[in-house]
Amino acid sequence: MNIQSRIAILGGAQSMLGAHRDDVRLEELVFEAAEAALDDAGVKRSELDTVVLAGSDQMDGRSISSMVTACPAGAYLKDEIRTTIEGSFAAVLACMRILSGEFETALAVTWTKTSESPYDLVSSLSYDPFYQRPIGLSDVIDAAAAVSTYTGSKSTLADAACSVVVKNRSNGEVNPRAFLRYPMARETIDDSPYVAYPIRRAEIPQACDGAVAVLFGSAQRAKAIDHQPVWVDGVGWATGEYGIGVDPPVHMRALRAAAARAYAMAGVVDPSREFNFAEIFDGTPYHEIFAYEALGLTPDGLGPAFILDGASERHGALPVNPSGGLQATNLRFASGMSRILEAYLQLSGRAGPVQVASPRQGIAHGATTYPAQSHAIFVMRNY
C-alpha cells in the first residue's frame, strides 16, 4: 500500500443509448456499461478492487438504487461505495481511492433512466417546501432566472447561445456515440418558443437513457494496459450556495473554486492556452458560455465572443464539447461521466470522427443539473 501520486484511466464505455431503453431494466443497463468498460480496458471483474457508483434515487424511482445496481456494476462481494450528487462525483471518489494506494483498480459507474418518470416533477422535489415550491420553480425555470443575471450584452448572449446549440448538435451529428445525430438549424432555434425566458424549447436537449462506466487505476496497473493510458493529474470539486442568494449565479463561483483546485493540483497556469479541448456541462447553451469564463478559457465578459468568434468550434483554437456535449447526448445524471469518457477517448486517440488533432491535455466537467450548484473538474493528459 503506497500512496499514489498519479491516477490513470484504463478504459471506459457507455451502454447503448435510447430515448426509451425499455428493452432493459435499470440493472441490465448498468451491466452493459460496466461490462463494456472492463472489456475496453482488458480487465476482468476478478481483477477489480473497488466499485464506485453514483445514482439518483428520485430519478430511479427506488430508494438506495445501488442495492440493485451494485452487482451488475461488478461489485458482487467487492468493496463498493456510492455517492448521489452527480455522476462525475463517482469519478471523484474513484480517483481518491486510487490515490490512497489501497486500490489498483476502481470502476466508476453511473446511469440515468429518466424515461421512466416525469422529469420536471421529480426535479421539483429538490426545492425546499417552505419558500420555493409554492413559487412555481423548477430547475429549468431557475436556470432561466440565473441567465437573466448576466450583465453583458443580452442580444450577443442570445446569439451566442444559439451558436452553441448549432455547434454542439453539428458535432453530435458525426459522433457515433451521440444520441441526437442530426443537426439543429439556427432558424429552428430562433423560431422555437420560450420555455422560461430567455431559454427556448430547442435549447433544452432531449434526454436519453444510458449508463457510463470509466475504469481508473494506479500507475503500476496502467503499465499492463494495451492502449495509451490517460492520466488524471488534477481533480477539484466544490459546492456553491443553494438557490440564488448573495452571488450572481452566472459567476458560477463553485465552478471557479473547483477549477482552481484542479488547476493547482495539475500545475495548470494559463487555462486559456494549455488545453487542447474541453468537455463541459451544456445542459443549456448558456451554461457552456458562462463556463468558458468560469473555467478561465476566456476572460470574464467575453464568453459570448468565444463562441461567436469560432474559438470553441471543433476546428477552433480550443474545441469545446467536440463530442456534442449534453446538447447531443443529454444523459442527465450521468452527463458528467459522459464528459469524462469523451475526454478520455480524445486523449487516447480513439474519439473517431470527432477526434481533435493530437491532443495532449484537456478537461472534463460534471455539474448538477441546471441551477448547477456543485461542480467537478478533471484535468487529463496523455503524457
Binding site: 425499455d22 420536471d120 421539483s124 412555481g136 423548477s138 437573466s148 450583465t151 440564488i244
Partner: protein, 157 residues
C-alpha cells in the same frame, strides 16, 4: 397493424406513490411566517460577523459559520436581481404564463423569489424589459394571509 404494434410494445409495470410529508418549519422560519401573516412585515436575520442579512432567515451564517442573532425588518421595496417568465406548463406548477423574480428587498443581502403580478406577459421581449435587472418593485400583501410565502408577491414600481 395492431398485431405489429402489440408485438413491438414493451411490457410496462406501472408504479405510483402517494407519500405525505410533514415538513417542520422550525422556530426561525415560524417567526418569519407569523410576522408575514399577522403584521404583513418581512423579517430577516443578520450575521453578527459579516453583517450579511439573510432572507429567508436562517439560524446560521454558512460563510462565517456562526449563529445569526439580529432580526431586521426589510422591504417593502426592493430591486430585481434575477427573473424569468414561464411560458410552458410544468407538472405540478402554476398555469403559464407567469413571472418570477428574485428580489433583494431593501435592507437584505440575499434575493427572495416570488411571483411578479400586474405585468403584461403577452410579448416576451417587452415583458422582459419591464422586469429588467435593477428595476424596483414593491411587496403587495394579500388580504387573507395564511403564513405562507404566497402571502405576498411583487409589483413593479
Amino acid at each position: 397493424m395492431s398485431d405489429m404494434a402489440t408485438a413491438s410494445s414493451p411490457l410496462i409495470h406501472p408504479g405510483e406513490w402517494h407519500i405525505h410529508y410533514d415538513y417542520a418549519v422550525g422556530e426561525i422560519a415560524e417567526r418569519f411566517f407569523t410576522e408575514l401573516r399577522d403584521n404583513a412585515t418581512i423579517y430577516a436575520l443578520r450575521c453578527p460577523s459579516c453583517k450579511l442579512v439573510f432572507v429567508p432567515p436562517r439560524a446560521y451564517c454558512e460563510r462565517c459559520f456562526v449563529r445569526t442573532t439580529d432580526w431586521v425588518k426589510i422591504g417593502p421595496e426592493g430591486v430585481i436581481e434575477a427573473f424569468t417568465i414561464v411560458y410552458e406548463p410544468f407538472d405540478g406548477l402554476p398555469v403559464p404564463p407567469y413571472a418570477v423574480a428574485y428580489v433583494t428587498l431593501d435592507g437584505a443581502s440575499t434575493a427572495l423569489a416570488n411571483f411578479v403580478t400586474d405585468v403584461d406577459l403577452s410579448d416576451p421581449e417587452q415583458a422582459s424589459a419591464a422586469l429588467a435587472i435593477g428595476n424596483r418593485v414593491i411587496v403587495d400583501f394579500v388580504d387573507e394571509r395564511k403564513g405562507l410565502i404566497t402571502d405576498f408577491h411583487y409589483r413593479l414600481l
